[in-house]
């Protein structure tokens, strides 16, 4: 009788273990994985010259970056991360007087390779965009979050720096999806809308 009870317990135990394992097995996962949502704050950065400032501290050398250079018309280029840098020779944003106020916690600076970017050029760098931006009427457009609405890019001068932003639909309407400020340490005539 005692042996039968022990057998019953063993069978019950095995059944419970089977159910737990079965419920956790890969077979229970959806057959199709969805793409990771686009993270504006970690996948978009700004650039001054061939140097990307972005809130992503672990980008590996060779990582492809899509650039939107803030010119008229805006230009789309492909580049690659060369490596993290603290050099003001590579990064104008880290020059004396600027570096302390641009190097905010969480922001990493990367040298860009294979990029046709002049030292005085400004713009945006995008890591793993869902597609390559297209330029329509001089403005680069891309649907980052795949919601059927394009995002666009803007940059303008403040009194002492450059304000970069990404907007859904039209620039300077509503709240930006992403924005950043680049302190230049000299005085400019502001061009940003009030």
């Amino acid at each position: 009788m005692a042996i039968e009870m022990r057998s019953m317990k063993a069978i019950l135990h095995a059944a419970i273990v089977f159910l737990i394992v079965a419920s956790c097995s890969p077979a229970s996962e959806p057959a199709q994985k969805t793409a990771a949502p686009f993270e504006f704050n970690k996948q978009i950065g700004w650039l001054h010259g061939p140097c990307l400032a972005i809130a992503a501290p672990e980008l590996a050398g060779g990582t492809p970056v899509t650039l939107v250079v803030a010119a008229e018309p805006q230009k789309v280029q492909q580049a690659r991360i060369q490596g993290k840098t603290e050099s003001s020779a590579t990064c104008p944003a880290l020059m004396e007087g600027r570096g302390k106020l641009n190097a905010k916690p969480g922001i990493a600076f990367y040298a860009l390779g294979a990029a046709d970017v002049a030292p005085s050029d400004m713009g945006f760098g995008i890591v793993m965009p869902p597609a390559t931006p297209t330029v329509v009427n001089g403005i680069a457009q891309i649907d980052f979050d795949q919601d059927g609405k394009n995002e666009v890019f803007s940059s303008c001068s403040t009194r002492e720096g450059i304000k970069f932003a990404v907007w859904t639909g039209k620039a300077y309407e509503g709240d930006p999806r992403w924005s950043a400020y680049h302190y230049l340490d000299y005085d400019l005539t502001p061009t940003c809308p009030q």
């Binding site: 001054h48 010259g49 803030a70 010119a71 008229e72 805006q74 003001s88 104008p92 944003a93 020059m95 004396e96 007087g97 600027r98 302390k100 106020l101 002049a118 030292p119 005085s120 050029d121 400004m122 940059s155 303008c156 001068s157 403040t158 009194r159 002492e160 720096g161 450059i162 304000k163 400020y181 680049h182 302190y183 230049l184 340490d185 000299y186 005085d187 400019l188 005539t189 502001p190 061009t191 940003c192």
Partner: protein
């Protein structure tokens, strides 16, 4: 009379040695200097960390920035440049392309930005030139109580966007140190 030195990378090196901006509060002018010192002390007494950036800007440096930007980007002819005492630069190389190239070397060497569609060069005169503005980074954790000039206390929560921290602006204004709300580090005697 010493011959003038043509525009080019020489002037970047020269400016970095002889026309530097200041990062010292002591170089501000009164009464703004005393006001800034009192504001910074109130911030530090409350537990905030204050990193001072630029205080006064060299007018000679601003002059070099202004004209190299205009000439290098083809917004002005080299012959249009005004002279400045103490800066013996020859903007005109006797050839328009060479003059532009010399100025462009300076744009790159100074790390000047060329915002799209901008027709405005770096400014010649601002509140930083006479010592009436300061750029500084102010950080703390959580909420702190900062004494205003009238000794009353204001509870101020940290905000990553200092331009939106109106309570902090109010405290600064009590010391006549006013926030410019477009540029995170910038405070001045008149908010510009």
């Amino acid at each position: 009379m010493m011959p003038k030195t043509k525009s080019g990378i020489f002037w970047v090196t020269w400016a970095n040695a002889h026309a530097k901006n200041s990062t010292s509060v002591e170089d501000l002018v009164e009464p703004f200097k005393a006001n800034v010192k009192a504001f910074i002390k109130a911030l530090q007494d409350a537990g905030a960390k204050v990193d001072v950036g630029t205080t006064t800007r060299s007018d000679k440096r601003a002059y070099l920035f202004h004209w190299c930007w205009k000439i290098g980007l083809g917004k002005a002819k080299a012959s249009d440049a005004t002279a400045m005492a103490g800066v013996d630069i020859e903007w005109d190389h006797g050839d328009a392309e060479k003059s532009k190239k010399g100025a462009k070397e300076m744009i790159d060497g100074f790390g000047l930005a060329v915002p799209s569609a901008s027709t405005n060069p770096p400014a010649l005169n601002t509140n930083h030139t006479p010592g009436k503005a300061i750029d500084m980074d102010i950080t703390w954790t959580g909420t702190i109580k900062i004494k205003k000039k009238d000794r009353t206390e204001e509870s101020v929560a940290f905000m990553a966007d200092v331009n939106k921290n109106t309570k902090l602006h109010t405290v600064g204004a009590s010391y006549e140190v006013k926030k410019l709300t477009t540029d995170a580090p910038h405070w001045s005697h008149d908010g510009h």
